[in-house]
Each structure stands twice: as structure tokens, then as C-alpha cells.
Amino acid sequence: MADAPEHAPKVAAPTGPVEPAPPADAVLPAFITSLQNGVAGSVAQVSLYLGDWTVIVPVSHLLQAVEHLRRATDCAFDYLSDLTATDWPPRKEGRFDVIYMLYSTRLRHRIRVKVKVAEDTPVPSVTGVWPAANWLEREVFDMFGVNFTGHPDRRRILMPEDWQGHPQRKDYPLEGPGELLMESPLDWLKLRQAREEMDIE
């Protein structure tokens, strides 16, 4: 491997985030136990890191779970702080994490809800629960190509309508199309990927 191409990654790509389980003596906060009891099977995993609680929810239970977090009196997450995604291409169980950061303006606690989805898995939109999700989901769709269903207006938001590819994906080139846009405006992304494969071979 002496003459490996320059752009070859130096370390193997990570296959997923670190989600440490809470220590054995940690007490689960009320909003997580409420979710566990309220919606059966909605909490696949609980994690605590640096004081942030994260619950991992199967995508089939997502809508029920967020509805419960929004309405139940001991959760009352009425504020969707942020909605984003991370991309882990080599992961077996689906490459994307869609992450919802929730906050309660009344009880003042935070929780992160995470779903793991593959490229084409439909993810139900949460715009019905928090209207704030509208643009945030549009951005995640634009940047990652996550397949949100039931969204009232699923279009690109930051990139032009006819843009190819989803820029925040890990396999998207940092420098963008560059000169390839002149060479092959309609298929520059495919052309680039083909050339990269040739380089590796």
C-alpha cells in the first residue's frame, strides 16, 4: 500500500456513535420511565453521556413516542430545539441517525431521541407534533436525503432545487462538483464516483 491514493482515508471509517449505557446506580429520570410505561416497546436503548440522556427509538414507534413525550404531563417536551442527522455509511442497521433534541419550557429538562434508519427507510414527519420540524426536516432531507413521509412541503431548502446528491453525506466530495460541472452538468456526481472507483482499482 505504498502508493495509496492521497484521498484514501487514513483510519477505517467509524461504524457508529458511542452510546454508553447509564451506570448501574443511575436512576432513570421520570420522563424516560414515563415513556417506557406509556408506549410499550418504544425505548430500545437508553444512554447517558456527559449528563445528556438519549433514548433510541425504533422507527416504527417514533410517532407514538414523540406524541407521548409532547403530551404526557411528566414529559411536556413542548419545544423542539433541534432536529438533525448523522451519517455512518458502513453501518449494518442503516446509515443514518435522525436525532431530535427536545426541551421542556415548563419542566426545563432535555432529552435526545434517536432513530436509526437506512437510506430508503421512510421516517414519519413530526411536523404534526411540532411545526418547528418543518424547515428542520427539509434541511435534513436536503443535506442527507433522509426519506421523510407525511411532510407538508418536502423540498430542498438550502441547495438549489436541481442539485445532485446530498452534501452532508460522508461520501459526498468536500470540494463539490468543481470542473466536473462543466464537463457533465447532469451527471457530475456519478462521473466522480466512477473515477474514484477507477483510482482505487
Binding site: P17, P20, D78, D82, M101, T105, R108, P131, N134, P167
Partner: protein
């Protein structure tokens, strides 16, 4: 008898049609490159569509390919009228991820810089907002005082707009000798100037006509739409990250969180005017109580947080500025860098706010939610 409309009086000739007009991206009152497509019935706005992305530079993607220190200067370019708060937010997130202890002196200076920045940002807001509505004088007054703050920043770090004024674990430089005296002297000047702005606007009849009852939104609606900062507090929701999740030295400061009642443009204006005074109050406490000691904590030479992810939010002048950062623990750059931009979330509420108002009010409402397009598009 039919109601007297142009149509019943004069027939089809005066029929009113829906008109679609395009405002921006090169419109002076959209505060940058914002485009709003308005559907009008006469002068009334039926619907508005906000088109953004003209200033998209891919800061998130770029940051995933820079090392941890280089990102600080990229964050300057997001909300470029409040660069210091962006720096503080980012550095604190990395410090949380690395579990670094920041010395108290650095925390105090950060608090002072954040609040000076808030005043500078609000000065720019009150000036441009008033000028959009037609009051020219306030603009000149507010920029005069903003200049004093920029001078203070220049003395501290050498730059006037994009400061790069923080380091992971503390500050790059200690405050220059005599700087704290100048900050206190500025507070005394500013006190009187805020009253001056208020004399020009608060009871001005034109101002009241243009802002009262414009863009009313209730507290729960505003929270559900993700509005934050003064725009949310104007609707009566006492949500302030400085109080709810204190960072830097805010837990040692005494200050109030002003909230509005009506949730209209006027209340959002009043909230920001009161925030000027509360910021001065914080600056005075922090400047008088700066402790002695080091300005940088124990930071490893190579910044490489352990694998993990975290979200940390601060109260920027525009609202809740959050950073979500994922480290893979192997490389010297973040695996995922995400910014929760307050302006983006506030701008999302614009179509809801302008519905039913006149075209001229669109301008007032864009000013009232205080957006910076550098942050909306990143």
C-alpha cells in the same frame, strides 16, 4: 344592496386579482440575501413563502474537515454581528466534550464579551429595525454606540467584526491593562443612550401605529414553531438559556429575564430594550468581580476529544444557539458538526406572522425577528 366594492361599483374592470410579488434577494430591508415571495390581495398579504440558501457556504461540512481549533474562526462567519457568542458556544461545547475545566477568570471575561456583543447586536437591530419603519435618527445614534463596543473589542483582540476571540479551554489573551475601566465607563455612557433611543421610539405615535398589534403570536404557538430568544420572550415565555441552563459565569450574576405580554412587534421591541439594561447590569457585576488567575485551563497539546456526542446551547443575541458535535475519537476533526441556528428557527415563523398584514408590515416583521442571513444559511 351589494356591498360597495370596486367590483360592484365599476364592474369587471376593477376586479382585484391575486398578485404575486417577489421581495429580495437584493432588497435593502431584508437584511441580507433573503427572498420572500408574497401573495397579495391588494396590499394585504395572503401568504408568504421564504426562500433561503443564497448565502449557504457549507460551514457544517467544512467544519467536519478542519481540526478543532480551526473551526473557531469559521463560527465567526455565521452570525457575523455577534461573533463572540458564536465562539463561546463552540468552545464550551468542545470543553464539555473533553470535560475540560475553564478557569474562573476566563469565564468572567467570556461573560463580559458575550454581553458586550449582545448590546452591539441589539444596537444594530434597533438601528436597522427603526430605519426599516422610517426612523432614520435611531440608526445614527445606535451605530455611534456600537462603534464604542467595537473599539473595546479591537483593544481586546485586534479585530472589529470577526474576532476569533476564544480558545478551547479559555481565552487567547488576557484583558489589556485598564480595559475593565473602559468597559465600566462605556456602561455609564450606554445607560443614558438607551433612554435616548426610548425617547425617540417608545412613545412615538408613528412607532406605536406601526408596531402595536402587528405579527401577534401566542406563547405556546411561538414555542411550537421553534421561535427563540427575544422573539419568544416577547410572547410571554420566560425561556432564557442563561437562566435555565447557566454557562460561563451567569450562575453568579444577578439579572432579570424580561418578557412581553401581547406577543406583537412592539413587545418584542420592549423586551430587547430591557435586555440592553440587563446586559449592562451583568457587565457591571462581572467587570467589578473579575477574579485573578490563569486564563487557560489545562488543555492537551493535541485536541482530540474521546468518542462521543453532545449538545450544548447558549443564549446568543438572537436566541438559543446550539451546537451538536460528534467526535469519533480517532481523527483530529469532528465527525459531525451541527449548528442549531436561532435565526433559522425564528425565520420559519415569518409566514405565520405576516399573514393578513400589509406589505409594509412585512418589513417591520423581518426586522422584529432579528435575523442574520449568515446564520440562517450557514
Amino acid at each position: 344592496m351589494d356591498t360597495l366594492t370596486p367590483k360592484t361599483l365599476y364592474g369587471e374592470m376593477f376586479d382585484t386579482n391575486e398578485l404575486v410579488i417577489n421581495m429580495g434577494p437584493q432588497h435593502p430591508s431584508t437584511h441580507g440575501v433573503l427572498r420572500v415571495v408574497l401573495r397579495l390581495d391588494g396590499e394585504k398579504v395572503i401568504d408568504a413563502e421564504v426562500v433561503i440558501g443564497y448565502l449557504h457556504r457549507g460551514i457544517e461540512k467544512l467544519s467536519e474537515n478542519r481540526n478543532w481549533t480551526q473551526i473557531i474562526l469559521l463560527t465567526d462567519r455565521m452570525d457575523y454581528v455577534a461573533a463572540a457568542t458564536n465562539n463561546v458556544g463552540y468552545c464550551q461545547t468542545v470543553e464539555k466534550l473533553m470535560q475540560l475545566e475553564v478557569p474562573r477568570r476566563a469565564k468572567y471575561v467570556r461573560t463580559i464579551l458575550c454581553e458586550l456583543q449582545r448590546i452591539a447586536s441589539h444596537c444594530l437591530w434597533v438601528g436597522t429595525h427603526a430605519m426599516d419603519i422610517g426612523a432614520m435618527t435611531v440608526f445614527l445614534y445606535a451605530f455611534r454606540e456600537r462603534e464604542l463596543i467595537l473599539d473595546l473589542f479591537e483593544e481586546f483582540c485586534g479585530a472589529r467584526l470577526t474576532y476569533n476571540s476564544m480558545r478551547i479551554g479559555g481565552l487567547p489573551l488576557d484583558i489589556p491593562p485598564g480595559w475593565d475601566k473602559k468597559v465600566l465607563a462605556f456602561c455609564d455612557i450606554m445607560d443614558a443612550k438607551i433612554d435616548e433611543y426610548e425617547t425617540l421610539l417608545t412613545h412615538n405615535r408613528i412607532w406605536l401605529e406601526r408596531t402595536k398589534g402587528i405579527g401577534v403570536i401566542s406563547g405556546p404557538d411561538a414555542a411550537a414553531l421553534g421561535m427563540c430568544g427575544p422573539a419568544l420572550r416577547g410572547s410571554g415565555v420566560a425561556r432564557d438559556v442563561r437562566k435555565d441552563e447557566p454557562y460561563a459565569a451567569y450562575d453568579e450574576m444577578e439579572f432579570d429575564v424580561p418578557v412581553g405580554v401581547a406577543g406583537d412587534t412592539y413587545d418584542r421591541y420592549l423586551v430587547r430594550m430591557e435586555e440592553f439594561r440587563q446586559s449592562l447590569r451583568i457587565i457591571r457585576q462581572a467587570t467589578e468581580g473579575i477574579p485573578e488567575g490563569p486564563i487557560v485551563g489545562k488543555v492537551p497539546r493535541l485536541i482530540k476529544p474521546a468518542a462521543g456526542e453532545t449538545y450544548h446551547a447558549i443564549e446568543s443575541p438572537k436566541g438559543e444557539l446550539g451546537y451538536f458535535i460528534v467526535s469519533d475519537g480517532k481523527s483530529t476533526n469532528p465527525y459531525r458538526f451541527r449548528v442549531r441556528p436561532p435565526s433559522f428557527c425564528n425565520l420559519q415563523a415569518l409566514p405565520r406572522l405576516v399573514k393578513g398584514h400589509l406589505v409594509a408590515d412585512v418589513v417591520a416583521l423581518i426586522g422584529s425577528i432579528d435575523i442574520v442571513l449568515g446564520e440562517v444559511d450557514r
